[in-house]
Symmetry: C2
Subunit: 375 residues, 2 copies
């Protein structure tokens, strides 16, 4: 109820935005969008950014205006938000289980190009049962375990068996391989990331070789995140990239290192939690109005933007505790700060609105229509 | 959008509830409600449970039907949800900063009994400015630092100064002391918890003695959580208790120990995330549809209910990885499990509906109207 009311009005000064609020620095955000588009231009690799990061069709359409072919989603509810918001090409990078969810997915496939993943005959049978009677053809990718040991089958014969089953099932066609190496994204050195993606590429090649030898073409090899996308892009194997976090960056991704051993500064922080100092009991301690419910800590604590002498030292449900390392820092109750989230994806999921900021004013209010779309 | 659609219908079998969903085991929940009411009966201590746990006026009214005098809230948006839902007595256990938030609080004070906290003259001045011109009297409690070193002033003279300032300010009256020892709630042994609360009690007594000596009465001493409430209840000092998590219990609270060194089994787990197995790539690994966005890990990983041989071993944004320790466990894609959350408060904040279950069927669907009420 409260969450549905925007924390700002268009044209308002930033300092008047109510807190906690989720801010986008529009200049930094657009620079990230443009940088990725330039990086991928001429590579021949399609870009299908992951919408689980932003959960907002407005953002998806900005990505597509810069060349993205569509988006990835994790949940049917996210795919609905994207299709209803104007996106016409969605890959659900996940196994969808349960007839009611598959019915919703097949319904979307009547309005948009929809693909989904499988790593077991059970998925294929369930998809086919519903797609087959709805007179549509659903693209089904087989998820390959490329090293994360989460979902996905092993290379070669297990993929071939599933691909054949898909091809034999009315209403389905084999769409290719879902080959995302999530575990590689936050390996800190470029060498570690390169080795992990090389191992993934080897598994993909083993598989496509086996498929080709058995007369099955593999039109799509899709994967990659913000931490490794340049490696997959130059692999000559991957045909689609799924990186999503590049638009916002977070504290965790900013710890990835470049070849010179320094933090990789390819994208800028563009996502912030705007927060107010509500208490300042001592000269070295202040308390913010943003805790676990505004800025999740699963990938580490947030950082205070622009003020390195302020340390976000701990969170409770609704409070963030700041340590003031510089006694000269004049900070007082009512002051507002920008926090850089530790992990952008679960942070976005806590808010219903993006407040877009440019030149110190609110330029846009975008509804996060897939907030809470868990199903 | 998707989140606003309930995952179930009244009367449905549990196994047909869509996932992820937030379940309440109504028998266990009511047992917790009743147990707390019995514990506090005859103690003369008022009970004002914290609504930041449940964010739902329906739950608040069930607590009040069993003797609670009202609720605590952390945010103005939570207080709005409670008052609009029929609760007529709310303590905001927090400093509220910003004129627009104080305007909303004062508006609520025209419909309900509202109290709020302060730990600085800045708060008192801001409350007075708005309450004074609205012809209401807002109760303001001074927050005392009782050992958590978060918000709050030190005992004695600093409290007296603020109490006097409140009394001198038109539209405000001194309501007493906010004396919550959050840091004590998860100390694991009863001895540690008792020592921490004794230290808090000593600080309260120092303060009330000083107030009394200076002619200021202190009508309310409020604090306590689920981990320590019995200590405050028998302190003869605290007049109100704020425990909230007792209604649900979570994995973290269940680690608190009793005097016999075994986990304190006073309340039952009544809150669960219902989740579906979406992939089972190997005999010892399965993947669930509930990750960071369904079950936050700030206080540790969730546990699988009723099946101790299944370990929730890791979360990513939308996936939970299960280790199957018993090779005989016959579990398959499509099976649904109940997870006990690591920390109930931020988990509740991710859902829009409680699905109340009794005897294997959906008995109730309660909207979580303060979900996302950060402001």
């Amino acid at each position: 109820m409260n969450a549905n009311i925007p924390p700002a009005e268009i044209g308002m000064l930033l300092k008047n935005v109510d807190t906690p609020a989720l801010l986008i620095d529009l200049d930094a955000f657009e620079q990230n969008l443009d940088h990725m588009a330039q990086r991928l231009e001429g590579t021949g690799v399609r870009f299908r950014p992951h919408a689980k990061t932003h959960k907002c069709p407005t953002v998806a359409l900005l990505q597509m205006a810069r060349g993205a072919v569509g988006v990835c989603c994790q949940k049917v509810g996210e795919a609905e938000a994207m299709v209803y918001g104007g996106v016409r090409d969605v890959l659900v990078t996940n196994q969808i289980v349960g007839d009611s969810k598959i019915e919703r997915l097949v319904s979307l496939a009547k309005q948009a190009r929809i693909a989904v993943c499988a790593d077991d005959p059970v998925h294929i049978e369930a998809y086919g049962k519903i797609a087959g009677v709805n007179n549509i053809e659903l693209s089904v990718l087989v998820e390959l375990n490329v090293g994360s040991n989460r979902c996905g089958v092993e290379p070669g014969e297990p993929v071939l068996k599933l691909a054949r089953l898909i091809e034999e099932t009315k209403g389905l066609r084999f769409g290719g391989l879902q080959a995302y190496q999530g575990g590689a994204q936050h390996l800190r050195t470029p060498e570690e990331r390169a080795a992990a993606i090389q191992a993934a590429v080897d598994r993909v090649i083993d598989t496509t070789t086996h498929l080709t030898a058995n007369g099955i073409a593999c039109p799509v090899i899709t994967g990659a995140g913000t931490g490794t996308y340049r490696i997959e892009a130059s692999s000559t194997i991957y045909t689609e990239l799924q990186a999503g976090s590049y638009i916002f960056m977070d504290v965790d991704y900013a710890k990835n290192l470049d070849t010179d051993g320094k933090p990789l500064k390819e994208f800028e922080h563009s996502l912030f939690i705007y927060s107010t100092i509500i208490s300042k009991p001592t000269s070295d301690r202040a308390v913010l109005d943003a805790g676990h419910k505004a800025v999740p800590i699963d990938s580490g604590l947030p950082m205070v933007a622009d003020m390195p002498d302020l340390e976000y030292a701990g969170a409770s449900d609704e409070h963030g505790k700041l340590i003031l390392k510089d006694p000269q820092r004049n900070i007082k109750i009512g002051d507002k700060l920008k926090l850089i989230p530790g992990h952008c994806d679960p942070t976005v999921n806590l808010f219903d609105w993006y407040v877009g900021i440019r030149n110190g004013r609110v330029e846009s209010l975008w509804p996060i229509t897939a907030r809470g779309a868990l199903r």
